[in-house]
Symmetry: C2
């Protein structure tokens, strides 16, 4: 993959035009979306999880999701997970267990999301929501979360992956 | 969400710059990636599933995925699913069961992937692989697929969602 040009540079979010060499001397032109890495966490407490409901402008809808956020320059994914838990739902977590990572849609982006299960939750006094995120925190029974995936109330890919990894068999 | 300009127009794949109005008179500028809709299918036969292993240039790696593909102009998702099963793994499916849909990463793209479980498989004589896809078909035991997710050999989000929906509890 060889970069030809920058199509967009919005700081953390970049879009590049690239050339890809295939066997047989064929060259294709494509774009790559580079949004930087991210984390997503499923906060779990006894029989309950915490989700957020937020507005997503690309789909012009409110949807249910696990708390998540992008990794700042120089930050380790685990640090981001702690920070975003406070920013998005106002909780500190004693334990963040690594649950692997996912590629969200590797056909055109290099985006990776590191997954964590969050336990040992306590309210944080540093709670402040990001300006551009309109977020409602919801506490949902584990069984209800599984039902919400089955009946299509949860349609966010990272959230489904997290639930599978944290609450699956 | 108001479109300001086209940043990239590659036919099916578009990137747009948009303005978003927030409560309180705040306006943000963002981009939206519009790759068009897609489908992904988990072909299941007795105790086995079929996956593909393919090179993804944005991450410069070979990864395991469920067969998938983008919806052509005027095509219904179910038609795409039948077509892509033949193109990617060379099978016709008698039954394609709808398993809902996912948003891959709604923070910056409107991409939606419709999910299907494919059964009643038989080899197709129309099998032809797409030029830009280097694909190996692999037949894997259901239990092995679940292990591959647990141990991180499968990291593709849509594939994890499909396995959860088709092989989950």
């Amino acid at each position: 993959m060889k970069k030809i040009s920058n199509i967009y540079d919005g700081g953390r979010m970049k879009v590049e035009q690239v050339e890809i060499d295939l066997p047989g001397g064929i060259t294709l032109e494509r774009i790559v979306v580079k949004p930087g890495g991210a984390v997503a966490m499923l906060p779990v407490e006894n029989d309950f999880c915490y989700l957020i409901r937020q507005y997503r402008y690309p789909i012009e809808k409110y949807i249910y999701e696990a708390p998540a956020g992008t990794i700042d320059e120089g930050e380790k994914p685990l640090e981001t997970a702690h920070r975003e838990l406070i920013e998005e739902i106002g909780f500190r977590a004693e334990e963040l267990t690594e649950k692997g990572y996912i590629y969200t849609t590797p056909g055109y982006t290099n985006e990776v999301i590191y997954l964590y299960e969050a336990r040992g939750l306590s309210p944080s006094d540093e709670f402040k929501s990001d300006l551009d995120e309109l977020i409602e925190v919801v506490k949902v029974k584990k069984d209800e979360v599984r039902e919400m995936i089955a009946d299509g109330r949860i349609v966010d890919a990272k959230t489904i992956c997290l639930v599978y990894k944290c609450l699956g068999e």
